[in-house]
Amino acid sequence: MARYLFRRLLYFVPVVFLVTVVVFSITMLLPGDPALAFLGEANMRDKVAYETMRKELGLDRPIPVQYAIWLGKAVRGDLGRSVRTHEAVTDALAARLPVTIELAVVALGIALVVAIPVGIISAVRPDSWLDTTATVMAVSGVALPEFFVGILLIYLFAVWLRVLPPSGYVPLSGGLWPNLKSIILPALSLGLTLNAVTMRQVRASLIEVMREEYVTVARAKGLPEREVIRVHALKNAMIPVITVIGLQVGRLFGGTVVVETIFAFPGMGRLAADSIFFRDFPALQGVVLVMALAVLMCNLLTDLLYAYVDPRIRYA
């Protein structure tokens, strides 16, 4: 396991380095002059102020040098200042990250609580009415974009039934129930697609495992079907599900951009959308970097978990 961990970490480092190069390059391409954006409209014609600002931001240096300076600062936790709010990007991210993590965790929770039992029932009773209903729901769930689900949920629960707020976030410090009320609709919007993907994977992998010889042997030994599924089939069937859940983290983060925009959530996704709208390149750099690193970390954890539960992977 230690050798496998070392190998994976060795592979992780150059990818992280390349991620920083891509993040830096993308934001370098953003239209508009960052120095002008920082100066604002009032000082736009002041040439001396403009040159000073360019120097201050390091824009007068060659691009590789700019990258090296940016990376050096980023490693020390300095991602620059927001063009729009002049707040330190690291502070802005630190304030918004918990909101996005809470949203993602609740969405993941909703998805798994529904997907795993329904997936198991579908696999155990294939072609039953429940399997057909679950499959139709899963196939439909994958075809529904998060923002359309969000709009439908707002209409249903906030406009028509008036039982939940249409937008806004109440932090946990404002009370558990108000917090849950504010988070339930965005989490449902995000969780529905995730639920569909996970449910299909649980079903497919359990059906596959149920055809294995060791399951037949367990049945031949006279074990009750419930025991066969719980003890023998489910454990192995859940291994590919781990990968699917791990891979969905990127999708979750992507989904937060649009869901947080619809529900006016003060999270990282909203910060990304706002920074695009206001051409706030340091903030955009920060959000994209943090999201990419989070996805890379999740992929690494998924790989390690996979190798832990399935020894064939680490000896391959």
Binding site: P14, V15, L18, V19, V21, V22, V23, I26, T27, L29, L30, P31, V139, S140, V142, A143, L144, P145, E146, F147, F148, I151, L152, I154, Y155, V159, A204, E208, G250, R251, F253, G254, G255, V257, V258, T261, I262, A272, A273, I276, F277, L284, V287, V288, M291, A292, V295, L296, N299
Partner: protein, 300 residues
């Protein structure tokens, strides 16, 4: 072209006759209702996109009625916040969806196949360098990377399609690289190399024909995803520029009037849902039909 490599190319591209009694590709594909539904949706979407200018009752960007009209005889699906006909805008939006799906995935195929063929055929440091770049792109959440690229390039349909194309490139590059790695070690490929086939000939005549199937399947699964990403970019204001309609931008405008005119959101949302659902089902059908292993296991 040498005679030997031409013989090798003909041998590898020769069609294998179908066994008597075995069902044809189309019979197998349309055995499931999902694939059939998908084909009907695809045909309908293509037809509507092609005939949009002829069948749209009004100019999609012109005010034709009072604002926020309910669906009725004059405006079958009602009017939006500027009094424009929803049906006409929806029909023109179909063109954007078709274009976004086809062009962005086409670009991803072009980039991904080129990278995958080079990495898989040459291996070594070429493979290492190209695959690290691909892995880097793979590390970004799809939508976040598409947003960042689209924001860098500026709003507009073409830029959105380029952004989606770049984001989907790793999927094809990894697929083709894997296939190329295994194909280049097979007897027919070794024979062709021994007969003097160069790298370009090997890639185009020997490896490419063997990866077309998986690429078709992957494309069919990614086109609906591309439609969703384009709609999302348009929803966030980075797709098609106003006043031209796309399903995503229509939803963005409709969302502002959810209390007064909820039907405005329903039509573009339903259009995305039905199109993506149909294409997903068709893609699944193609995957099962073209993948011998899945077919043997009876996966549906």
């Amino acid at each position: 072209m040498s005679a030997e490599s031409s013989i090798a190319a003909r041998l590898t591209s020769r069609r294998i006759p179908r066994r008597a009694g075995s069902p044809s590709f189309f019979t197998r594909l349309f055995r499931t209702r999902g694939s059939l539904f998908g084909l009907v949706v695809l045909a309908l979407v293509l037809l509507l996109a092609t005939l949009a200018t002829l069948i749209a009752p009004y100019n999609p960007n012109k005010t034709v009625e009072t604002i926020l009209q309910r669906p009725g005889i004059h405006n079958w699906l009602g009017t939006d916040h500027l009094g424009r006909d929803i049906l006409s805008r929806l029909l023109y939006g179909t063109r954007v969806a078709v274009l976004a799906g086809a062009v962005s995935v086409g670009l991803a195929v072009l980039l991904g196949v080129s990278i995958g063929l080079m990495a898989g055929y040459w291996g070594g440091w070429v493979d290492d360098v190209l695959m690290r770049i691909v892995d880097t792109l793979w590390a970004f959440p799809t939508l976040v990377l598409a947003l960042a690229i689209a924001a860098s390039l500026g709003p507009g349909l073409s830029n959105a399609m380029v952004a989606i194309g770049i984001v989907f490139t790793p999927a094809f590059a990894r697929l083709v690289r894997g296939q190329a790695l295994s194909i280049r070690e097979r007897d027919f490929a070794i024979a062709a190399r021994a007969l003097g086939a160069g790298p370009l000939r090997m890639m185009l005549c020997h490896i490419w024909p063997n990866v077309v199937g998986p690429i078709i399947v992957q494309s069919s699964l990614l086109i609906p995803q591309a439609i969703i990403v384009e709609a999302t970019l348009s929803f966030l204001g980075l797709g098609i520029e106003p006043p031209n309609p796309s399903w995503g931008s229509m939803l963005r405008q409709a969302y502002q009037y959810i209390e007064r005119a909820p039907w405005l959101s329903l039509f573009p949302g339903a259009a995305i849902f039905i199109t993506v659902l149909g294409l997903n089902l068709l893609g699944d059908g193609l995957r099962v039909t073209l993948d011998v292993r899945l077919r043997q296991r009876g996966v549906s």
